[in-house]
């Protein structure tokens, strides 16, 4: 499908996700425009992680459609039937989406550099030399050039998370998903990671979907905030509005509780 400025980077259409009897997303609709930086906020258990995991095909929606740049991702309509798209085709779309996890999930059996060049070589088909050159540039960007030959378990949590960010960026994603990437870190390590993300937001036009409890960071980086409650968007506004004068009572309560 032709990509232009008005085709959303991400579109959810009536997405339903259940875990057993627990209906987590009940017909969710929302779109994220190209280059948007969207922060999802909301109480724990409201379905924020589930949204990111659906976008990474780590979970499968029970109903509804997800589009990336206008392309159907995991399911498509054939006539009036919703059919699953085979993994080979999904993977072509998934290649445009990168994710950074709360628990970093670096590969402990590889060095920092090997973590970063693994997918560029074996997925994008880059030469080793080219992949290393890109990795070194990224390591410089996240301030860890001196750690390139270390094993991840030799690094602090904050350093591991910065490697994980570099690893995701090495795949040149159009969309970057960030799931509470600072929640597992000691407080004094949070600032470095947020600094790196702020820098990425300023120097690239990657579309970002961010789940975070760092409201100051959300305010600086994002241009839109979606407030979730029980799997629904109950309020949506620019960060200034939502943080200074939230309209919905649940939003007020939530912000009062975490600020």
């Amino acid at each position: 499908m032709p990509e232009n400025d008005t085709t959303p980077a991400i579109q959810f259409q009536g997405v339903v996700k259940r875990f057993g009897d627990n209906v987590v997303l009940d017909g969710l609709d929302f779109t994220v425009a190209q280059g948007d930086r969207v922060t999802l906020i909301g109480p724990s258990g409201s379905g924020k992680t589930t949204i990111l995991r659906l976008l990474m095909t780590l979970e499968e929606a029970n109903d509804g459609l997800i589009y990336i740049d206008g392309d159907p991702y995991t399911h498509e309509m054939r006539g009036d039937k919703r059919v699953a798209i085979p993994d080979k085709r999904r993977s072509l779309v998934r290649r445009r989406v990168g994710m950074v996890f709360q628990q970093f999930n670096l590969f402990p059996n590889m060095t920092v550099l090997e973590n970063i060049i693994e997918a560029p070589i074996h997925v994008l088909g880059k030469s080793k030399a080219e992949a290393i050159a890109i990795a070194e540039e990224l390591l410089d960007k996240v301030g860890l050039s001196d750690k390139r030959d270390e094993r991840p378990n030799k690094l602090s949590g904050g350093q591991q998370q910065r490697v994980a960010i570099a690893r995701a960026l090495a795949m040149e994603p159009e969309i970057l998903l960030l799931d509470e990437v600072t929640s597992a870190l000691d407080p004094e390590l949070v600032a470095d990671v947020l600094g790196v993300l702020r820098n990425i937001a300023e120097t690239t036009d990657i579309t970002m979907l961010i789940v975070t409890h760092e409201m100051q960071f959300a305010r600086e980086v994002s241009n839109r905030v979606l407030m979730f409650d029980k799997g629904k968007i109950i309020e949506e506004a620019d960060p200034e509005t939502i943080f200074t004068s939230p309209a919905h009572e649940r939003t007020q309560e939530f912000l009062r509780a975490i600020l």
Partner: protein, 214 residues
């Protein structure tokens, strides 16, 4: 000092034959373990796949092999494949038998790799085969090294069964010496000692490996 039951002369005289037998014993163990570790891994990966057409028969075969004695399997295979040398049959049967146990060790090692490793691989769009080879197996195999060592020791100690299919390993060599000299005590005692001499240091090594990996 020599008594009616024990003669040092015989104990020393039997040694060269026992050492020749020990070579066969070790050869069978090494070849058997190579087969068991490769086949065990294949079985573990196959049983983890979701294709019932392969998981079901493989699962049945594994249960069958585990529920019948090694000795019976050895003799049966030796009767069935008369065209192959007994030693080769012995190695293969030992390998296949232990592969069914090794597959459980691998399964546990694979299950111990955190879910986040698979998820990160999906997020990077790594193909499934590459995820196995570069991410999961290197971590899983590290977890299986002590198990592998322990099964190597048990296999080593079960090699005397090979005597039943006429492979002249250490135990058969002792029996032969005993038969022709009418002195069993020395030969069998020396066999026991030689087994101890190999397996005890090996088990110490395995324990050290366990502690290092823990």
């Amino acid at each position: 000092m020599d008594t009616e039951f024990w003669s040092w002369e015989h104990a020393i005289a039997v040694l060269p034959e026992l050492l020749r037998g020990l070579q066969i014993t070790i050869l069978a163990t090494v070849v058997g373990m190579v087969i068991a570790s490769i086949l065990g891994l294949v079985v573990a990966i196959v049983r983890r796949s979701r294709m019932r057409v392969v998981t079901f028969p493989v699962g049945f075969l594994v249960e069958f092999i585990r529920s019948t004695p090694l000795l019976v399997q050895l003799v049966f295979a030796n009767l069935l494949f008369t065209q192959f040398p007994s030693l080769a049959i012995g190695c293969v049967v030992l390998g296949v038998h232990y592969a069914t146990y090794m597959s459980e060790v691998y399964r546990a090692g694979i299950d111990a790799v955190p879910k986040g490793q698979w998820e990160a691989s999906i997020a990077l769009d790594l193909p499934r085969s590459r995820t196995w080879r570069a991410v999961v197996l290197p971590q899983a195999i590290r977890n299986t090294l002590p198990g592998l060592g322990n099964y190597a020791i048990s296999m080593f100690k079960e090699t005397p069964f090979l005597a039943f299919i006429y492979v002249v390993e250490m135990y058969a060599a002792a029996q032969a010496y005993g038969g022709s000299n009418f002195r069993y005590m020395e030969a069998i005692t020396m066999v026991g000692l030689l087994f101890l001499l190999v397996s005890y240091p090996t088990s110490l090594l395995v324990r050290r490996l366990e502690n290092r990996l823990a």
